[in-house]
């Protein structure tokens, strides 16, 4: 193929800039991962390969507690928000347009539109009131908050999947004597499952990543992995943070890959 001369889609200077952007995006992450295996304390100097900081993190009770709490929180929020989002997606797609549909849509996507710090402040005030009134200071607040802001992330892939589905399938099912429930249970739900799993994965990652809302909402002793890290970074930095980051990063990449595989269109 002749590459000399003019290529219609090439704009001068664009490819080098794109190249620099990809290098710029990944270089810091790669350095972070590489130095998690450093025997020395931090990026000040490479002192040989070692799993030392992974051991340190593993033996750190605070990290262990925060990890368990993060996973528990993300799992609860993912399950709750996906359940709610699935119902809402079924309620807002593939039916005759009705008044208030836009309102529901805006409500569901509201967490994406409000600056996180504002939501965090609002929840801080509101939950402080409830805490004062009831005396309850458990994980419920974090689970409620995370479930709420994860709803739009779970909703989008489920809705997309529903909209891409052939509506005549349910008609065919009801033509073959299936009740509404049977049509849903044996036709719609199986077809919708990849969307539901994809939504749950995004919700899980979103909850796992959250810093701001968690910092404001958590009670004492309710550190999640990100808030624990935030506290550590402000104090003194050891490569322990690099090790925790690397594990979280690996988990995110794994879940994202699964997500891509689930939502990939078969061509």
């Amino acid at each position: 193929m002749a590459t000399k001369g003019f290529v219609i889609s090439r704009l001068p200077g664009f490819n080098p800039i794109a190249g620099l952007v990809f290098v710029g995006l990944y270089l810091p992450i790669i350095i972070l991962v590489v130095y998690s295996f450093n025997a020395g304390r931090s990026v000040a100097g490479w002192e040989g390969f070692s799993l030392h900081w992974y051991t340190v993190a593993w033996e750190n009770d605070a990290v262990k507690a925060a990890t368990v709490r993060s996973l528990y929180l993300a799992a609860s929020a993912a399950v709750i928000s996906t359940f709610l989002a699935t119902l809402a997606a079924l309620g807002t797609t593939r039916r005759k347009a009705f008044g208030g549909q836009t309102f529901i849509y805006v409500m569901i996507n509201q967490p994406l539109m409000v600056p996180e710090v504002v939501s965090a402040v609002a929840l801080l005030i509101f939950f402080a009131m409830i805490k004062q009134a009831t005396g309850y200071a458990g994980m419920g607040y974090l689970i409620a908050a995370h479930s709420a802001f994860c709803i739009p992330f779970a909703y989008l892939p489920i809705r997309a999947r529903l909209e891409g589905m052939d509506m005549t399938l349910e008609t065919a099912a009801s033509d073959l004597y299936a009740s509404n429930w049977q049509a849903f249970r044996f036709v719609t739900l199986p077809l919708l499952l990849p969307g539901i799993f994809a939504g749950m994965m995004l919700a899980f990652v979103t909850s796992l990543d959250d810093v701001v809302i968690t910092v404001f909402v958590k009670s004492a002793g309710q550190d999640t992995l990100p808030t624990y890290m935030l506290g550590q970074i402000r104090r003194q930095v050891t490569a322990e943070i690099n090790a925790i980051s690397t594990v979280l990063l690996a988990l995110t990449v794994l879940l994202l890959t699964l997500f891509v595989l689930l939502t990939r269109k078969k061509d």
Binding site: I8, S9, L11, G13, N15, A18, L20, V21, L25, P28, I29, I31, L32, S42, V43, A44, L84, L87, A88, L90, G91, T92, K96, F98, G100, I104, M107, I108, P111, M113, V114, P115, E116, V117, V118, S119, V121, A122, L123, L124, I125, F126, A144, A145, S147, A148, I151, D209, V212, F216, M229, L230, I233, V237, S245, L248, L249, T252, L256, V260
Partner: protein, 303 residues
């Protein structure tokens, strides 16, 4: 509409609302409802140890721009606040512009790859997008802090004799925000460019446009909705940023987000924090409305 059709619409609406109701309840309790309380708090006097005392006061709103002299009660511009607002707007705009300048070529690069490679490059943009913001900010601090990689290398190469202070400056916050929010610019730009009809490029070149004219007169006007979407997606979280300025700007280089937090912490001025939050919310909603207006007009015009 016939009665039968009317009944169908009513039935559809009833099931629609019923199925959406649980999500709406949770969102109302744990996301939207509390915002109303923030609005209410912004009109109350502060409590002595945080929180508020019941009553009505415009002090919090006044406090956004003015400070009251404790002796004679006269009002003066709150310079510190204004500096924070200015820094927030300036850094957010700079971040948006710079993210566009490097994000557009990146999105173009991805959109012009063959389909298989395109999915791969897009995935490479998606990974940082979903990676914890804290981790990404931390990755930047690792490079630019005083004992960071950059200083270490420069010292070793004897380009500098003293480590230079980059972290805890506005520049550091700008670099960090561009880094963490860049995917938010690239993704909507890519979505727009992916739908762009590449044959229009041929038509433009055929009609004597040079590459710069092709970019300015054909590509950019057509993908304008994507440019606006990307700009808003970067500007909005930049303006409300909390983690990045906190880690890279330190205590002195606060942005609005940190200033709001301060009011609920050491500042002990919840109403001021509330009024600042409402102000931020209004600005962001305004930006989103502009976008929705614009997007609607574009769809009506048929593109």
């Amino acid at each position: 509409m016939s009665p039968a059709e009317q009944a169908e619409v009513t039935r559809s609406a009833r099931t629609g609302w019923l199925l959406s109701a649980p999500a709406l309840v949770v969102l109302t309790l744990a996301a939207i409802g509390p915002l109303a309380i923030v609005v209410a708090y912004s009109f109350m006097p502060p409590g002595e140890y945080g929180n508020v005392t019941w009553g009505f006061s415009l002090e919090a709103w006044q406090g956004i721009l003015f400070t009251k002299d404790i002796f004679d009660g006269s009002l003066a511009w709150a310079d510190a606040n204004l500096r924070i607002f200015w820094r927030s707007v300036k850094l957010s705009l700079l971040t948006t512009v710079f993210a566009f300048l490097v994000g557009f070529p990146t999105a173009w690069f991805i959109a012009t790859r063959p389909p298989k490679a395109r999915a791969m490059w897009l995935f490479l943009i998606t990974i940082p997008f979903w990676t914890n913001l804290l981790i990404r900010t931390f990755a930047i601090t690792e490079i630019i802090r005083k004992e960071g990689l950059l200083n270490t290398i420069l010292l070793k190469l004897q380009i500098i004799s003293q480590p230079f202070e980059m972290i805890y400056t506005d520049t550091a916050v700008f670099i960090g925000m561009t880094y963490v929010y860049l995917p938010l610019m690239v993704l909507p730009l890519f979505a727009s460019l992916d739908r762009f009809d590449m044959r229009l490029l041929e038509a433009a070149y055929d009609l004597y446009a040079n590459p710069w004219q092709v970019l300015r007169k054909v590509i950019m006007p057509i993908v304008k909705p994507g440019i606006i979407a990307g700009s808003i997606l970067v500007f909005v979280p930049s303006l409300g940023a909390y983690v990045t300025p906190r880690l890279l700007g330190g205590g002195k280089n606060m942005m609005i987000g940190n200033f709001i937090e301060l009011q609920f912490g050491q500042g002990r001025n919840w109403p001021l924090g509330a009024s600042l939050s409402v102000m931020l919310l209004i600005i962001v909603t305004g930006a989103l409305l502009v976008y929705v207006r614009y997007a609607n007009r574009e769809t009506r015009n048929g593109h």
